[in-house]
Symmetry: C2
Subunit: 209 residues, 2 copies
């Protein structure tokens, strides 16, 4: 890390022939552009213009467009894990409230940056994405598994497999989030707050154990 690079990082601009911090700058530009125009509207050329480099430059840092999208994707999973984790921690571990709060944070994450959410859960970054993205996605799901385990333990079912219940809850929350950001929900019931659906149906699912 040179002085020039330090300055480039600090200012975000370039200081000579070399950019000095292009990888990070491109990631940021990609996140911004995706938030504006969606994963489909995003182009490598736009990101280059925003970063102030030629259209060939990114290929020194990313194998191709897909690789850049994968990186954005993984950052998204980290952010999602953080959001849901901190939401559920505001309530007692294993409590119904903490599980509902985690689900509602998932929804809020989707609503806060719908395009990134679409990127993360759509098919966009092709098969190659698997190995890396899979790992971060799994880490994200662990949050829920832990909460559900604690919930079951609190009901005297220490040995129960948390997976089935966790899948029911995840499906519900993911469905609410998808329908909310992709439009259908607002078309069918414009006056209904999606967070309420998570609350109502989530408690019903938990009550049925």
């Amino acid at each position: 890390m040179t002085l020039q690079q330090d300055q480039a990082i600090a200012t975000g601009g370039r200081r000579g022939y070399h950019h000095g911090n292009l990888r990070e700058t491109l990631l940021q530009a990609a996140e911004d552009l995706i938030a504006e125009s969606g994963p489909d509207g995003f182009t490598m050329a736009d990101a280059c213009r925003r970063a102030g480099v030629s259209t060939a430059a990114p290929y020194r840092h990313f194998e191709d467009k897909n690789a850049l999208l994968e990186a954005v994707c993984m950052r998204g999973f980290d952010a999602l894990a953080e959001a849901t984790g901190s939401a559920k921690n505001r309530f007692p571990m294993g409590s119904i409230d903490s599980i509902i709060a985690g689900g509602q944070a998932y929804l809020a994450f989707a609503q806060g940056d719908p395009e990134r959410f679409r990127l993360m859960f759509g098919r966009k970054p092709d098969i190659k994405s698997r190995p890396l993205v899979e790992a971060t996605g799994v880490a994200c799901f662990q949050n829920l598994l832990e909460s559900v385990s604690a919930f079951l333990a609190g009901r005297g079912r220490d040995e129960a497999n948390p997976m089935p219940l966790a899948l029911r809850l995840w499906s519900l929350v993911h469905g609410v989030s998808s329908l909310a950001i992709d439009g259908p929900m607002e078309i069918m019931a414009p006056d209904k707050d999606p967070a309420e659906i998570i609350d109502e149906a989530g408690r019903a699912i938990l009550a049925a154990v």
Copy 2:
């Protein structure tokens, strides 16, 4: 409709300078190509090659690529409404079984042609899609609303608004379907049949009324 056109329709091929049935042929080609490569992989040029016409020909029948995708989308909603409708009709109107069967048919539809499902519920056909696609999508949702109304009536709640309960069920079913076809579900629980999740959680939601 001329004799030449009739033959073109029957054979699927062209018989001269004019194709005779290009609109329908393009729609079919688009559906096939989307099923093979997804909405993102689909190109106008591919559809033209498959239909055996020049790349400019489609613009006599569709305003642009988006319009073609919208048409495919609407056909999909018709097919989905038919699939869920006939599934629920195999059980008594308003019964829990009929509602579950409808949801599982929704899932089967998604699994049967994941790419079309993604097209229908993704953001792909842009804002313009609204007026037309909205109508067919709403018609699709009516199925569920009717079932839920009948279910509530059977429980002595003739006057209850079916919307909240329908939204909970739809969210669940849509979430299961999305997670199943986009990969995450298989990664987390490869041995779990998604249809079971609909059955388990669906009954829990219905039991909580």
